[in-house]
Symmetry: C2
Subunit: 586 residues, 2 copies
């Protein structure tokens, strides 16, 4: 080894030991006859001292060291006179007796510090330097730890990690599949998996009983802010289980991760909420329950007062912002502007200030007396000093807008602390989702999801009402994972494909091997998948998944560091039996 210990190892107990260190020059400063160098590696920073009186030549070399030079030094650990309590190694320094330059460095395009002067683009281009920064590297350390602890937990629970293929079958409907031309099979393509779903179900048919995989998945779709063309899932499946068993097992996994990665113990069982309640009380299927501020429906209390806006609305809903009656005109205008933004699309915002002195001021004073408004306040459990914010319109649409407003108020009121974690299971998702455009049902989760047996009779009469044995784990308003009990009966699976508009041929072509497998003793099974990237972001308190991926791609799916994707040469295209057919440029 080119070192006897790392730059994070040495303490006061090591004083007078002779050591060898290697690392990067973080900074270098001359003070009188002394030169101090901060030497950095993954484990920490250690101060090196060069004394001009003792070894002028060595000191001169030290003076010439630039930022990010790589050096190896020998020296003796010495107690600092001027200790730095902010550094674990701050009690000591190394009196250097020998130094070897291992590599020099050009001046980096940005400073390698927690608060760098580099913008996003330059940091992505020089990602290998960005990764030197402590805060970026620590996200990768966190990712390693989460993956490792996930495996430790699941191994102890008898799960087997099985690698499923990356080069799989391309399906005609899979327009979002990445495809891979096969040189050995001219004109044919593999696809990259969007998830290992079918393979993990096959493994259950194979009797693997408990499977998991930390698996790369791929999606060739236009990338929104927080999507990557390749992403990682913690993919799990179990046999001979009911929904309750799956929830308990993976609540256990999440508790394990919080305990061993963040030292957080949850005292209570994770709360569970039906999808219906989530929509009605929070306006979305992934409520942030770090704070309450539930929706209260007041339509019935608003009727008969000739206020056409409420009277014509299907839904009138309020949230009560505790202690916000003191909001100024300006603040209320900001909130109105917020809900009227095109992304949210509300027509307006009604407010009611329940002043400390018990008086009421509202934007609908003209239509509603204080007595009527008091009935709203009562239903909302408002106290003097609180502020009601009211939106109306079509039920689901208005609830969605109110959801955004609620989150905005939570933000403004400081109720969304990144160090507080509020896990939640959302259950009883609908099996189908109606699509207005194509006038047909889609599977809300996926076509392999088991309908709740209590609702089987509704499959023919009112499919939109059928609940699924499907569930999501939500923490702080972020969907971290989800899954379902799967259909294991070939007949029911066939019926599902029919309800979803697949012809028998399409079903056979795309899922034939699963249907075939179901003929040979498929056991009841179910599972779920967590998004590892999101999980790490949440643990790290990051807003984007990009910062917890070592080499992410940008919004155009490009790796700007190594300039991928790129052109390939004609010989290679020819070998693949392909020709380019590019759009004409004007």
């Amino acid at each position: 080894m080119l070192r006897s210990c790392t730059c994070g190892d040495l303490r006061i107990d090591n004083v007078s030991q002779e050591v060898t260190l290697a690392g990067w020059v973080q900074k270098n400063r001359k003070m009188g006859g002394m030169t101090f160098v901060d030497l950095r590696d993954r484990y920490g920073v250690t101060q090196l001292v060069f004394n001009n009186d003792i070894n002028a030549e060595l000191c001169e070399q030290a003076n010439k060291l630039g930022r990010e030079y790589v050096i190896q030094v020998k020296g003796v650990v010495s107690e600092r006179s001027n200790k730095n309590p902010n550094m674990p190694t701050g009690d000591i320094e190394i009196i250097v007796s020998d130094m070897k330059l291992l590599n020099s460095s050009a001046v980096p395009p940005f400073t390698i510090e927690d608060n760098t002067d580099g913008g996003d683009d330059i940091r992505m281009q020089y990602r290998y330097l960005d990764l030197r920064r402590n805060n970026v590297r620590s996200n990768m350390e966190l990712r390693h730890k989460i993956a490792f602890e996930t495996r430790r937990f699941l191994d102890a629970e008898n799960f087997l990690e099985v690698e499923t293929p990356i080069l799989i079958k391309s399906t005609p409907e899979g327009a979002r599949d990445f495809v891979v031309p096969s040189r050995m099979n001219p004109g044919e393509f593999y696809a990259l998996p969007q998830s290992p779903q079918l393979f993990k179900q096959l493994l259950m048919v194979s009797g693997f009983d408990r499977y998991f995989q930390i698996a790369k998945c791929f999606r060739d779709e236009d990338l929104r802010a927080d999507r990557q063309p390749e992403f990682t899932q913690i993919d799990c499946e179990m046999t001979f289980v009911e929904q309750e068993d799956v929830l308990n097992m993976f609540e256990g996994l999440m508790r394990h991760l919080f305990k061993y990665v963040k030292d957080i113990d949850f005292a209570e069982a994770f709360p569970r909420m039906t999808w219906e309640d989530a929509m009605n009380f929070y306006g979305c299927d992934k409520p942030d329950i770090r704070f309450d501020m539930k929706f209260v429906e007041i339509k019935d209390l608003t009727e008969g007062h000739n206020f056409p806006v409420f009277d014509s609305a299907e839904y009138v809903g309020a949230i009560c912002a505790t202690g916000c009656a003191s909001y100024t005109r300006k603040q209320l205008d900001q909130l109105t502007d917020f809900v009227k933004r095109p992304q949210i699309g509300a027509k307006g915002l009604v407010y009611v200030k329940y002043e400390q002195d018990g008086s009421i001021k509202s934007s609908v004073d003209k239509f509603y007396s204080a007595d009527v408004i008091k009935t709203w306040l009562e239903r909302c459990d408002a106290k003097p000093g609180d502020l009601l914010l009211i939106l109306c319109g079509d039920r689901r649409k208005a609830q969605k807008q109110l959801c955004e407003l609620r989150l905005e108020m939570g933000e403004r009121m400081g109720l969304r602390d990144k160090d507080t974690f509020a896990p939640l299971w959302v259950v009883d998702f609908p099996l189908f989702e109606w699509d207005e455009d194509s006038q047909r049902f889609y599977a809300m989760h996926h076509p392999f999801t088991m309908p709740n047996p209590d609702d089987l009779a509704l499959l023919d009469t009112d499919p939109g009402k059928v609940r699924a044995w499907a569930y999501d784990m939500v923490i702080n308003g972020v969907e971290l994972g989800g899954g379902s009990i799967r259909i294991h009966d070939g007949g029911l699976q066939k019926r599902m494909f029919q309800l979803l508009g697949f012809s028998d041929e399409q079903a056979q072509d795309q899922f034939g091997f699963l249907m075939d497998a179901f003929k040979y003793g498929a056991p009841p099974h179910g599972g779920l998948a967590f998004g590892l990237d999101r999980l790490v972001s949440m643990f790290a308190g990051l807003d984007s998944i990009r910062d917890c991926i070592a080499f992410p791609k940008n919004n155009s799916g490009r790796d700007v560091m190594n300039d991928a994707p790129s052109k390939i040469d004609d010989a290679q295209l020819k070998e693949l039996f392909l020709e380019l057919n590019l759009p004409k440029e004007d």
Copy 2:
């Protein structure tokens, strides 16, 4: 849970407990008024008993159960009168009181037993049924365990597992890259990585210090018997290390795996052998040292006797097969035929029998007296009863043939026991390999390998003599992994590219981002990669890697179970700006 315990759990201590089991019907037999069903799951087999006298209806249902039906039963654990000591659950049986059919099964196309009646093709087509067989599934359990223990060891040694991208830059020379057209970047392609080599070196530049990844790699080449288009590597890299450190670390990993997976402790340090010695004593760079039988050069002892075959040969080498002097004419003819097969290509085989009575019989009696031949026997340390086998020709070519003969003899003499493991480090590989066809040097390992500094002067004068800091781990004649200390100096790396015939433009285009990274303080680093598939095969005593992959592809790169690769439709091709250009059929 649909069960209270698994089919492998119950023992004599559980007698009189009421249990619920679920699993597959392995077999079902009627004996008088009783029906016995073997119920199977991943954990074992438990015998179920149905008594016609007690519950005729239930017994009748049991009689109707076919192989691979999935059932759930309730019953009481009872001591067997007729115990089966070959089964862990063989002391007990379940007196069934209730049964639920969870799924039926068509008759499987082959029997789900260790010795199945199914051929290779049908088992691959129904891989999900093949995976039900204990011996196939246990390979996957072994694979899980090896991967898990690898992570446990490396985590404890401060290695971070970092996921590097699967969609990477395609390089013009990478004819063996799989490519992936990018919809969002018309006319451009990603490549799938043949290894994470460049990314792991970048991580070392980033100061990650110790990296590993169990990584999927891809190679679009014609598949030999034991190759797959996608394969898995245990990929590792360390900073501030010398070759010795890397060897020690990963010898440690291998010891850990043998200990925790196979309960084998190696008393001695793994032996090390130079590449030169491996070639001269074993004729290949991955010697099987479970047995000795080293090559002995006897050219000098054969000269001057007018035997043109030896006289004209650059090399005459012998192996001594202990105790094989009794080989018959027929056996010797078989060996001659063996070495004359086109795959081996020797012109003939010379033998010397050193009989028990001290007399000598050889196939070259005409040319060599017993006294001359005795000098050969002495040099080979042969004893009465031994057999010398001699090949000659061009040095490397004859050594390669002798290598095959040695392995064949090892096989015949029972010296290659699958339960004996003989690890070996091969070191001091040449840096370059001369290619006669293209009349140029190629990197024997890869272009990033550090030359041995002692040989740097030879880089210009005699490149073929330069040794690399490169090493392979070999066990039982199988190369399980290899690696090198890498170049971390931009200037030396540039020189290497030149020596390998890259133009500056080519080097910049393919490896520009690595060369750029080397400008900013690249530390000394090195590492290696193990082939996980081969490692598992070796631990499992398998001949092929295919049997330790859950869903492997055949020699044409096809997954015959789900019929991949396959055609994609025109709309999808168009979206990717591609057209097919298929070879004309005659």
